[in-house]
Symmetry: C2
Subunit: 154 residues, 2 copies
DNA sequence: TTATTAAACAATAAATATTATCATTCGTCA
DNA sequence: TGACGAATGATAATATTTATTGTTTAATAA
């Protein structure tokens, strides 16, 4: 059996309400619209793109509110960051393929050589016409230092 | 046989000069210092951090120059981006583990379910005390659309 | 309900990150 | 060496994100 898009959305919104309650978050109209918008977009939108869409339904909403709520949703696990590494450009002088161990708290990155991992194997084809350049495995978590102090975990 | 750090650096700088020539880039003092600095830092520094370090040797250098050269180095493959996804926050309503196919040109992201990949297997231990939260595989390349038009490839 | 209180809101300013502009200087190559 | 295009430094402009503040709203309990 399959859920239709509508069912799945209803489920997600239900889930959303419950999770807000569990996290002690007030259930505001804005929050619900923001969450539903992201959920419906299905792409991996930026705050700006979300803001544009949400504004169609809530013309008076502020960009700051979108940012603050996205952050709240990330903190409570209602949403995820596509790339916990964003923030600022980071460059790498090692141009050989390798992987990363990333602390999501302090953003420290440790390298992992290509040979320290079993080769990544796909069970399916990549999208037709996609030209693959490289493949990177990122291990996200907390480094020893950040794991120790109970700051604000993400 | 092993290369010492000094040998390896000399090699890298030699390589750097040659690659500049091949790419038609003028070999300036600033470029050499910037590259060597990144190479020596070994971490995965931000432009700001690189700027601070470079300034110790070239007090008059401008932050813009650092940015522009980093970009040039990335374009010519002398350096790599740690996370080609940076730029702006991107959120994801799918909170189940999954992977990404990313176009480095237009930054489009396609999801790849956890089950569409053989499980990732480490051959070594993660750094002692590291608390792993999740593991994401990113396939970087060009989407069909971007592969077609010979814009500016990265 | 309705009053109370803490949280969330909109507006705005500030901070951070990045790119663009332009006059001057510097490498490159004849 | 000298001409020319490219690179630099200074600075302005833009983009992204966070902080601040006064006002409004949701949650809780009487």
């Amino acid at each position: 059996m399959e859920f239709s898009a509508v069912d799945s959305e209803k489920f997600a919104v239900q889930e959303f309400r419950e999770r807000c309650r569990n996290a002690g978050l007030a259930l505001t109209h804005q929050r619900e619209i923001i969450f539903r918008t992201v959920y419906e977009m299905r792409s991996h939108p930026t705050p700006e793109a979300i803001y544009e869409r949400v504004r169609e339904q809530l013309p008076s909403i502020s960009l700051g509110t979108v940012y603050k709520n996205l952050k709240t949703f990330l903190d409570t696990g209602l949403l995820r960051e596509v790339s916990p590494m964003h923030g600022s450009l980071r460059v790498d002088a090692i141009t050989e393929d390798h992987h990363h161990v990333v602390c999501t708290q302090c953003r420290m990155v440790v390298d992992l050589g290509e040979e320290e991992l079993e080769p990544v194997r796909l069970r399916v084809q990549l999208p037709d016409g996609f030209v693959l350049k490289r493949c990177v495995v990122e291990f996200y978590g907390l480094c020893p230092r950040c794991a120790a102090k109970p700051d604000k975990p993400r």
